[in-house]
Amino acid sequence: MTFPVEDRQGFSVVMLSGEIDLNNSPDARKVILNSLKKMKHVMVDLSNVDYIDSSGVASLVEGFQYARSNELEFGLIGVSEAAMSVLRLARLDQVFRIYGSLDERLANGG
């Protein structure tokens, strides 16, 4: 499967959904990195993610690292409770920029 990307107000929003595990994390990784190669501002929407394993988290980490070394913006929006508990457990909530929604990010002005 591949994950859809929406262009909204100068942002690429990668829409991940379902279970992000070893089977589809390579797809997630590809979509995230491709978006970062095209756009300066990328948000990953995790509102429909039911489960994310360490390989899925690694895709997000890679996006984060790529953005940091290329001075791009990378953040997570609408993180579902299932995804949030994983991020929180590993203290990755300290690493990623996390917003309730794209509007919240726009209101904060980065």
């Binding site: 360490s54 390989s55 690694a58 997000l60 457990l89 590993a90 203290r91 300290q94």
Partner: protein, 569 residues
């Protein structure tokens, strides 16, 4: 532009001009009560036809009892039906002149047609039909192909393909080349030229079954035409074996003929063609015998078998190669596994008050643990889990384990140690891989523990009967951000034990039950608390792992015993 088949179908107006005089004779022959003198007069009007008729009537092949020297005698001796057939054969033979299709040797077509004709004539007896009528049907049944070539002379170069085909293949090639088939065009021509209905049926329905209401004799003639088509193809097509088998099966089905009889008839085809050609005034080349055909078919079969054997041989080679590669890979993995295991504390390095265990889901693991003495009473310990599985995780694990062992001997502050390892692996991070890690130092005399948790599952402090404390991550995993800080937790491990584990244990199931998760794990740890320390990791894993099941994830466990309190432990 895509054009439909319908646009390509042959229209009656496209067809060559019919031999009108001959058709008039043919029609007269079929008229009830027609006068033989009238027929003779009609024939005599066409001197070429007359000469041919007399010649063919006197030929050995058609073997009339007495020699006929005049048209009127021929008409009487032959009878209306035979006259009709001969006139049809002659007139159709001449309907397209030898130069009508540029670049095409029309004799080659007629030679093939003659094989069908002699085949059909032989089948007449089995089908209880008139031999000359069958001969005529056989000779003319594929006339549509000649018409297709006449209408599409640019496709003449494909004749070799058509010639080498079996009847089934021939129609597919025709659709490809002409967008029409010879039987379809034959039927159009027969209707347009007003040819007798029996001949029209044979031309139109020697591939597909005739319409339901077709009378029995005509139906039988169509069957003869179908069989004759395949019999001729034995001498023509590239796939002779298929053709021979099809003839045997058709003749068995329709005429109850044995394979031997079928082969006998096929043999007769070659012997009769030259004779029939002489009779019909057609030129044919030297005929191959059925024995030669059989030899060729067998040779081809042998060649195919040979290539099959070669294929089998190659497959065996490939499988052998695959097995060799697999064995080599297996050896490599075994070596990698050995190196990995060497990074973990072994039995010889056993220390009192601490133990650990690692079970890999795959040959190599992304988990590891380590501990070593850093002072008289102090031990450094760690447990880590590399994101992902397989060789890349194993290599990052090896790097992290080496860093821990190397740096940990000098740096006794777990938070600082993790920060150093983090900087090292962040610099070379690939594909977002990271390491969750717990590192600590325990003073076995005082029970004092200092612990830092980088993104890992909480360490659990179990007292005698209950969970006393949890130490969740206060910092993200290693390898993500080089500047992360790793705060320490300090506490006293009085009585009970400290358990460090990877998610393989948390996700384990007891029987078919749900995953253990946090509460389940606490329960299992409590149940196994009385087992001696060195045996406890095995007791815990055995309690949660199906011995015959497949391990889904690496599972690692470290247990650190606290300072024993008098009377409490």
């Amino acid at each position: 532009m895509e054009e439909t088949v319908a646009e390509y179908s042959v229209r009656p107006t496209d067809l060559p001009a019919p031999p009108k005089d001959a058709i008039r004779i043919v029609q007269a022959c079929s008229r009830p009560g027609v006068d033989s003198r009238e027929l003779a007069r009609l024939v005599a009007n066409d001197p070429v036809l007359t000469a041919e008729l007399l010649r063919i009537s006197n030929s050995a092949y058609f073997g009339l009892v007495s020699q006929v020297k005049s048209v009127s005698r021929a008409v009487t001796v032959l009878g209306n039906r035979a006259l009709r057939n001969l006139v049809l054969c002659i007139s159709m033979r001449d309907a397209l002149r030898s130069d009508a299709i540029p670049g095409f040797n029309i004799d080659v077509y007629w030679e093939d047609a003659l094989r069908r004709a002699v085949s059909a004539r032989m089948l007449a007896e089995l089908a209880r039909l008139d031999p000359e009528e069958c001969f005529t049907a056989g000779l003319l049944q594929d006339f549509g192909l000649l018409v297709l070539l006449y209408l599409n002379p640019d496709q003449v170069s494909h004749w070799e393909r058509l010639a080498a085909s079996t009847p089934d293949e021939r129609r597919d090639i025709e659709i490809d080349l002409f967008h029409a088939t010879h039987d379809e065009v034959g039927l159009t021509l027969a209707t347009s030229w007003d040819l007798p209905p029996d001949l029209a049926m044979a031309m139109g329905y020697h591939h597909d079954a005739p319409p339901e209401d077709t009378e029995q004799a005509m139906r039988q003639l169509c069957t003869v035409a179908t069989c004759a088509d395949w019999m001729a193809s034995v001498y023509r097509s590239a796939d002779k074996r298929t053709a021979i088998q099809q003839v045997r099966s058709l003749l068995a089905e329709h005429f109850d003929a044995s394979a031997e009889h079928s082969d006998y008839l096929l043999q007769q085809v070659a012997e009769s063609v030259a004779e029939a050609a002489t009779a019909m005034g057609m030129r044919v080349g030297e005929q191959v015998t059925f024995d030669q055909v059989l030899r060729e078919a067998n040779l081809r079969l042998a060649e195919e078998n040979l290539s099959y054997q070669e294929l089998t041989w190659r497959l065996e080679q490939a499988l052998g190669e695959r097995d060799r590669y697999a064995a080599e890979l297996h050896r490599e993995l075994e070596l990698a596994r050995e190196v990995q295991q060497s990074l973990l504390p072994n039995a010889a390095q056993q220390l009192p008050g601490i133990t650990g265990m690692n079970l890999s889901a795959k040959a190599v693991s992304g988990d590891f643990f380590d501990y070593f003495r850093i002072g008289e009473n102090r031990l450094a310990f760690c447990l880590a889990d590399v994101s992902g599985k397989g060789m890349n995780a194993a290599l990052l694990m090896a790097k992290t384990a080496s860093l821990f062992r190397c740096l940990g001997k000098g740096v006794h502050d777990p938070g600082k140690l993790l920060a150093m390892i983090n900087r090292e692996i962040s610099e070379t991070s690939v594909r977002g891989m990271f390491v969750t890690m717990l590192a600590g130092v325990v003073d076995q005399a005082s029970g004092q523990v200092t612990l830092a948790n980088a993104g890992h599952l909480p360490a659990l402090h179990m007292g005698c009967a209950a969970l006393v404390g949890e130490y969740p991550a206060k910092a993200p995993p290693l390898g993500i951000s080089p500047d992360s800080l790793f705060p320490n937790d300090s506490f006293e491990l009085l009585g009970g034990c400290l358990y460090l584990y990877t998610d393989g244990l948390l996700e384990a199931r007891v029987g078919d039950g749900p995953r253990l998760e946090h509460d389940g794990l606490v329960r299992v740890l409590r149940e196994q608390a009385a087992v001696p320390l060195q045996d406890r990791p095995r007791a815990i894993t055995e309690a949660v792992i199906d011995p015959d099941g497949v391990l889904e994830d690496d599972l690692t466990l470290v247990i650190i015993e606290g300072r024993k309190l008098n009377g409490l432990q």
